[in-house]
Symmetry: C2
């Protein structure tokens, strides 16, 4: 059986839970509290030198890091990873958008507000993160105009990856009410068979 090392309240880890539960696949989950140093121990760094969760471990001991790379690997041979090269390319475009443009403001704002004390110096980053995040949410809202899903007219990896931190953007101080397309899309994601909520 495969093993996921992850933190339940991390959107990057929750993505894998979403996909695995929707694939109906058995897996072992080992909690690693990355917010409190558990990814910086010598033991963990020996498994993932970049010191991050999630981490996938196969039955034979091989390991894979980076949440969106793990999503693609787990989706191989399923309907979640389309055969068509252009659909795969668009999926990857949104996965890289998620990691490069979305996560560094939407998820980081949530981390600063939810995990750091009120007087922490990083609280000063919030105004800039909220401003950048509005731009990111605007890109998503524009794309969802007239579309039900991010790629190819069906629920897929791009929706899973973007749902993970968008559905809890309010934790970071983002108001989603100006984005009706995003709100309707979030509701559609929640109705997908096998959808499981994030555990906080």
């Amino acid at each position: 059986m495969i093993t996921i090392y992850g933190m339940r309240a991390s959107g990057n880890c929750y993505k894998l839970q979403l996909l695995l539960d929707q694939l109906g696949r058995d897996y072992r989950w080992i909690d690693v509290d990355s917010a409190h140093g558990a990814t910086r121990t010598p033991e963990y760094l020996a498994m993932n030198p970049n010191g991050k969760v999630p981490l996938l471990e196969l039955e034979d001991g091989r390991r894979l890091a980076e949440s969106d790379a793990i999503l693609c690997y787990l989706a191989e041979g399923t309907a979640f990873w389309p055969d068509d090269p252009w659909l795969r390319a668009q999926t990857l475009q949104w996965l890289f958008f998620e990691q490069y443009s979305h996560e560094p403001c939407i998820a980081v704002a949530r981390f600063i507000r939810g995990w750091l004390p009120a007087g922490h110096a990083r609280q000063g980053e919030l105004p800039a993160l909220l401003e950048r995040g509005k731009g990111v949410l605007g890109v998503m809202e524009q794309h969802l105009a007239g579309r039900e899903w991010f790629v190819g007219g069906r629920y897929g990896l791009a929706d899973i990856a973007l749902y993970a931190y968008t559905h809890c953007a309010g934790d970071g101080g983002f108001d989603l009410s100006p984005y009706p397309g995003i709100l309707a899309w979030l509701a559609r994601v929640r109705t997908q068979p096998g959808h499981t909520p994030m555990q906080h």
Copy 2:
């Protein structure tokens, strides 16, 4: 013929030049000066709502953003995109590492030093970026111990993506001399057939 919208001195754009030249593929290159607002015009935002370079445009007008998604798409059906799912997964792991951990410190330090004036407020970010960048370079150095290439024992997309900003890390103030494995790998990349230097 395909078109790349890009800025020659951007590592994210240079990646595509590296791959396309090594594939011997014809393409049109349209310069877009993202450092001076050319990606924020209404015309450019109509092509890429996220306002970034590079952008791929196919003969039929379809467009794809995100440098590493474009690399994967262009490499489809070539030796640069392996058939083996585990090799592909590892390639994606390094591409996401590049965009999430590497580019945001190595490339951003280069941008601050090379494009912003000496008194700019963002110069204050440099010490933290240099510190984070050392960690990133350390992860690469550790991986290259006993390896010639990042994935599967052969030159591939992970090497191209990571070369783009690592070879010019000195521009951002990084000293690569403590990383002999990285220096030897950079030299190997430069000897690959069809390798072209970055245009500054």
